[in-house]
């Protein structure tokens, strides 16, 4: 869903003019593809929330959540959570053991912009994002200024949060420091009608979360060169609640997640060509304990990623690029027989004709070396036709082949990991119409309609093996077909600005074949993939006052493979309202949010309740020097 509006509640106080996005040219891979940006104004309203909350409100990516504080996983265009890649400034940060990211662990306050690459568009960034890639970006504002923002918040269910940001520098140097703390009891009440003949109110227990994080970014700019260094640390202690059906004494399930991510980046833009080199080292610790079941699972993974690319422009509109990517993973887990490593490298070459031409096109080819095994090359091709000269009316079409290598758990988990697994691969087709129209000064309309089809081959699934435990295998072929439609309207008049966004998606995701020929779920909708999703938001800003209303309708999700059982649709509404003052060059902003305004009782994972109406209040004080 396009979220390109420029509505900013803070346009009076923070003048964001000179923004440089690293490697903009090398990754300006859009001819014929779908990419959507969630900008900083939308992020600001969620800066104490998680990436899961943000995407739930502002995209049609379905989030499967085990409840407040619990794991939240994305389902993108009907694919599984390990087909959605989360990237941080273009580098894949999915957990190498699980091949997925828990979106409940990513605080929105640490992110400046989010780019969502749909389907084949993800090929321009990395491989393996069959559903798509969500790229979390942090970026400098080149301005001689010091901004200190202090942002405490308090909310329902014992939630206390605080975010502090310090940005300082000039036109050549910028330092950005962010720190985040959150503590939440998550002890909301819910009506349980599944454990006795009469529904009973119960309180969610063992659901506490303590989270903290820190980011330091340093940027140096000299003429056409930018050097940056980033460090991101965060940890989360979580108690994991049991299902509504479990009446047993607290099982003592806990999880500790800790990650340290570092990144060095050099970027050179010489006009005719541009070049980048990025090195990233990441450490992830995931410890899970279940006192009752005597499980003490300790997992440590390290990833070293080196990515470099060269782009060259031929004339005004043709760009040639070559990108090399090298990733080494080292896993230490007491669930593996021994420490395991993986070396994965790829080379990508692409050519793009873009600019203001009527016809734009892009072609990309990628070769992956997975532990020295050469995979069948992937490719991507996009075509874009401007319907009317100088108008923003486009027809787009693209086709891609995208490979996803197995996760380390698929390969090495004991018992059941299968080191003989093949990579999954998918053919992705997409056709879209994109229209941007300026109706009058201050009145803009953007409409997009896309249809897509993914055919995933050799999909990995865990299934019962010979010796009473499950094992992983390439056993399924899955198709997902769908439609996405979105409309956004921006209207500005004097000091009033408003933005209305509406989106609809239809997704039909089915298994087309499996190892079991009599499989009754062939042709049935995959579990937990809603066929229909609608969301809409209205954001208004009048001088010092602002208001937003976000609605989200999610259709039926099947919870059995034969589609005989399902969770019914739900309709959520969240509102935020606030006002801001200018205090001698500084600013004070106070806002109030009501989530789940109508107190809808709902679940995204069966028997894991989600909270009813909740409230939060946040204060943002920005000192500007």
């Amino acid at each position: 869903m396009p979220l390109h509006g420029q509505l900013s509640s803070y346009s009076d106080t923070i003048n964001i003019k000179e923004v440089v996005i690293s490697r903009k040219r090398l990754n300006s891979y859009t001819a014929g593809f779908k990419k959507v940006t969630i900008d900083s104004s939308v992020l600001l309203n969620h800066n104490h929330g998680t990436l899961a909350d943000l995407l739930e409100d502002n995209s049609t990516i379905f989030i499967k959540s085990y409840g407040l504080g619990g794991t939240a996983l994305p389902s993108f265009r009907g694919t599984g959570s390990n087909h959605t890649q989360i990237a941080w400034n273009d580098i894949n940060i999915n957990h190498p053991m699980l091949g997925q990211s828990d979106l409940s662990l990513i605080p929105v306050g640490f992110i400046d912009d989010i780019d969502i690459y749909y389907g084949g568009a993800s090929m321009g960034l990395n491989s393996g994002g069959i559903g798509g890639i969500i790229n979390l970006k942090t970026k400098p504002v080149w301005k001689k200024e010091t901004l200190i923002s202090v942002n405490p918040g308090i909310g329902s269910y014992g939630k206390y949060s605080g975010l502090v940001k310090v940005k300082s520098g000039n036109n050549h140097f910028q330092s950005v420091t962010k720190a985040f703390l959150q503590s939440s009891e998550n002890d909301f009440s819910y009506l349980n009608s599944d454990v006795s003949s009469e529904p009973v109110w119960e309180k969610r227990l063992n659901s506490q979360v303590r989270q903290r994080g820190f980011i330091q970014e340093l940027y140096f700019r000299k003429t056409k060169k930018i050097l940056s260094a980033r460090l991101w640390y965060q940890s989360a202690y979580r108690n994991l609640p049991s299902s509504m059906l479990s009446q047993q004494i607290n099982s003592g399930e806990k999880q500790f997640d800790e990650s340290l991510r570092t990144m060095l980046n050099y970027n050179l833009d010489r006009g005719r060509f541009d070049y980048f080199l990025t090195g990233s080292w990441m450490l992830n610790r995931l410890n899970y304990t279940n006192q009752l079941a005597s499980i003490d699972s300790r997992n440590l993974s390290e990833a070293l990623v080196i990515k470099t690319g060269l782009g060259s422009r031929l004339g005004e509109s043709i760009t040639l690029k070559v990108i090399l990517n090298e990733e080494v993973n080292v896993i230490k887990s007491n669930n593996y027989k021994q420490n395991e490593t993986r070396n994965n490298a790829s080379i990508t070459a692409s050519a793009e004709r873009n600019g203001n031409n009527r016809v734009s096109a892009m072609i990309l080819i990628r070769e992956i070396f997975d532990n020295n095994v050469l995979l069948i090359p992937d490719f991507s091709a996009g075509f874009q036709f401007r319907l009317i000269d100088a108008k923003e009316y486009f027809l787009k079409a693209n086709i891609s082949r995208n490979s996803k290598i197995p996760t380390m758990n698929d390969l090495f988990w004991l018992p059941g990991g299968n080191s003989e697994l093949l990579n999954e691969y998918a053919f992705i087709y997409e056709l879209s119409y994109d229209m941007k129209q300026k109706i009058s000064p201050g009145f803009d309309v953007h409409y997009n309609l896309s249809v897509f089809r993914n055919t995933i081959k050799d999909m990995i699934q865990w299934h019962p093996g010979e010796y009473s435990y499950w094992t992983s295998d390439n056993i399924q072929n899955v198709n997902s077909t769908g439609l996405e439609s979105s409309l956004s309207v921006d209207y500005r008049l004097n000091k009033i600005s408003s933005e209305f966004i509406a989106g609809y998606s239809y997704t039909k995701a089915t298994t087309v074949s499996s190892y079991n020929n009599n499989d009754i779920h062939i042709g049935k909708q995959l579990m937990y993939v809603p066929e229909n999703q609608v969301n809409a938001s209205l954001r208004m800003n009048n001088h010092n006052l602002y208001f937003s209303w976000v609605s989200n309708l999610v259709g039926r999700r099947y919870i059995t493979v034969d589609n005989s059982g399902y969770l019914p649709h739900y309709f959520l509404n969240n509102i935020t309202s606030g006002f801001k003052f200018n205090l001698r060059g500084n600013s004070l902003d106070i806002n109030f949010t009501v989530n789940n305004l109508f107190g809808v009782n709902y679940q995204t994972i069966a028997y894991y309740p989600l909270p009813g109406r909740s409230y939060s209040i946040k204060i943002l004080y920005i000192i500007s020097k």
Binding site: L245, Q247, Q248, H463, E466, S564, P568, N601, Q603, Y607
Partner: protein
Amino acid sequence: MKKMFIMASLYIAIVSCTKVSDDPAGSFLTGSGVFIINEGNFRWGNGSLSFYSYDSSKIYNDLFLNINDRPLGDVPNSMNIIDDKAYIVVNNSGKIEVINLNTLESIKTINGLISPRNISFVNNNKAYVTSMYSDSVAIINLLDNSISDYINLRRSSEAVIISANKAFISNWIGGNEVMVVNVENNEVIDSIEVGQEPESMILDKNNKLWVLCNGGWTRDYYAELDVINTLTNSIEKTFVFPNKQTSPLCLRIDGNGETLYYLESGVRQMNIDASDLPSAPLISESEHYFYNLAINPVSSDIFITDAVDYSQQGYVLYYKKDGTLISIQEAGIIPGFMSFKLNDNFQVE
């Protein structure tokens, strides 16, 4: 206001569009048949109760949900019947559902159990409930269906068999012992070292306790079938399975206490006086995935569950005692433990 909340709750409640019984009066429940405990998937809460009726030769599914308007729970594991009550042990919900055997209406839910697995009735007043993750066996007072006490075994427990004034309780996961408890005073009086991971046990007509030890999932040990003298608490005989990859399960016995059955690449049949383990199965597994087994104590009919792929509805395969297939019918997800309800007039065909 409360009504409104209840309505709202019903509105959002998980809707399960399962087949409604074509016998709405539930008359099949008055006849003889087999209850099937469908485990469902761990943490998905889709466990259920089915019943195969000898009268109609049909399986009726989702009975607990349809009759009590709520799901059975997360991973129901076993069931046992005493008089006109059935006790369904729901493992990951930590509870026992006590239901009326003839109407299946809930009588009481016994909560607060830790990972319960199996229930065995000591007498009309008392039952023992084993536990996978705690060190204690819970004692249930059958008069008011409450937990009255615990027996500390200092290890987890699985199968439980009562013989005379003793309870024999196996220490399955990671264990290799059968604990002996005096049922009069609920005290541990002995322990018997057996093979690795004693998974299931039965008592034969001579009051010998047969213990099937499946060797553990790591396949570091050979599976064993041990025979214990229940008077002396000592092993009299041991059958060792031929290789470490063999992982037998679900030891059962016929109503005469003479013929043993278990799952191992099909259904194996063995006389209690046999000198060797059976070399070939009575019923081969072929394209099925045999998951559990039950033997009709009167007719020796063989019922086997097929878990298929552990995600879709499984099947119950019904064979005559000679291995002749009678029917294959759909049950719930991961059909497991089965328990016979046989009326006095049940006849062997």
